[in-house]
Symmetry: C2
Subunit: 371 residues, 2 copies
Amino acid sequence: MKVKYQLLHQDKTARYGTLTTNYGTFETPMFMPVGTQATVKTLDPRELKELSSSVILSNTYHLWLRPGEDIVSKAGGLHKFMNYDGPILTDSGGFQVFSLANPKNISEEGVIFKSHLNGEKLFLTPEKSIGIQNKLDSDIAMSFDECIPYPATYEYAKKSTERTLRWAKRGLAVHQNPNQSLFGIVQGGEYQDLREWSAKETSKLNFDGFSIGGTSVGEDKVTMYKMIEDGIRYLPEDKPRYLMGVGDPIDIVEGVDRGIDMFDCVLPTRLARHGHAFTRDGKINIKNAKYKEDFTPVEENCDCYCCKHYTKAYIRHLIVANETLGQRLLSIHNIRFLIRLTEEIRKSIQENTFKEYKQEFIERYTNNKKA
Amino acid sequence: MKVKYQLLHQDKTARYGTLTTNYGTFETPMFMPVGTQATVKTLDPRELKELSSSVILSNTYHLWLRPGEDIVSKAGGLHKFMNYDGPILTDSGGFQVFSLANPKNISEEGVIFKSHLNGEKLFLTPEKSIGIQNKLDSDIAMSFDECIPYPATYEYAKKSTERTLRWAKRGLAVHQNPNQSLFGIVQGGEYQDLREWSAKETSKLNFDGFSIGGTSVGEDKVTMYKMIEDGIRYLPEDKPRYLMGVGDPIDIVEGVDRGIDMFDCVLPTRLARHGHAFTRDGKINIKNAKYKEDFTPVEENCDCYCCKHYTKAYIRHLIVANETLGQRLLSIHNIRFLIRLTEEIRKSIQENTFKEYKQEFIERYTNNKKA
């Protein structure tokens, strides 16, 4: 089935709702952990479920290269391959257009890449991206787009945004997995009129949800929030709105305030692998010598497996000794931190206290910043 | 309390018994996974329990250097520090005398090392080793010994074996943790009379168990099995017998046949990190291209979490993509493989069919060797 979004309550512009998927109904706003290579780094699916994860994300580009979509398909699809019985969203490879391809290798037809694995020349098109995602059999596929660099000239952004819309139409035309939803992507770079145009035109197409793309590519926060606002106001209310690649706690709160329902980011797991942990009082670096004999949990009152059973001193030891259990415990905590954040956000929206929640959260997180 | 061994049944020289510890009673022969730095690499304590692990091992030398025994002690001991509520055995640092110290830095007093972390000069003595282990608060501590290199001259082996006995007495004299057992170590290198002398003299001391040390240091299998035989026949029947550092499946079966009750080794986790898995038909290398589209478990009929939920194709993908979940799943399987092996061994001893079991196991494991 296609996902169904239901808007259940609004607290000003913040939305509380549900997303019904092939694997059940989940509340929004939600945070989606990223499992680039068909695994959320260091974690297993049991741990993800224990964190109350709902949708997780996986990367089409990476799975295309390794192990290849045909192997995943022969395994019975991505869920069976990786043993995750919850909803999975796949991105389109569009972010890799931004991060790996030379702009001069982007044509109307598609994009020429060099494989990050072996330098092999690759060609990705909207049809190819959708075809791969069809085979991966994710629950939500993303339209193939170009993630525009920041800054970009108006001319570049306009040309790219128009092409992304044509790519969206080409992708829709070949999409044929009835159990897979397809989300469109709003681009437009930093330009208000392009964001508006992109949102309006993309909304006209038969997508099951919409995402705001092209943020978190180096722009300042003011610009990023404006990019969201400039597009989101033209999106239909009855479809989910997904802010791609965003996982900073402040950005999640700001995104919700602008009507976002879904977020994803590698941040919680990447920070964990470097020994950083989210707390209400800002990020901490567990390698700091002051935690050597700190026998308290990463965060008091956190309900995650890491905080219920392990101390900062032990996790510091593991991280310093390069033991993967340390990365894993912090990944558990950091993902749970963001999922708890969305739980509290949802509650505050339902109680019409989101603005107060937001202000309090940001003040505490920012003022005590320990990073 | 001190551990108590009870010999319940003998099938010729193979022993079935129980070891009662501070954390309950466990059957022997047993395999003990190694958690060098206060963590069994890539696993957490819940997974260890799920594998039916009983005793796990941790390394005194490593914990002495990092995080330091005082921090572990302040945490409430090793169990609390690492959140493992089962028995823990600590080695003495004796193996590091062999692997890290220059023989000319071994004196009657103790051993001068260079830290593998920062080159710092370190001095380890029997008193220091026992003192550290007292603070770590493991359930079973090991006597400080020299693991003799192979080959060694008779003169060197004799001198070292005699010194190891003097070190054993010095360690016993300072050991004072009433909840910690202390095991003596039989040395003697490759020399029958030295093994006999070491076993007899060590047995006279008030140890709670005995281990055969100095094997798996480069000698051939025939020599290794002889080293066991030359010492073990002089050990008391009512104390547990532990073969240090041995985890090859064939060696476990051969060790049991010579009266060994306890084994430990980094092999299952080390092999896992390199993509190797134990099976009844020999070791396999999961990176082999033939497993690319093999959607069967690592081993049919294995009851571990890895084999119940994941395919070779997926694990191969994880290992090739350098995702730690791959290492973790194979670690789970490999440890469980050895623990299941000991379960079957125990059953066969109780049924007086150990010799047949041994022959069948070795034939299948060796003849089909796939490594």
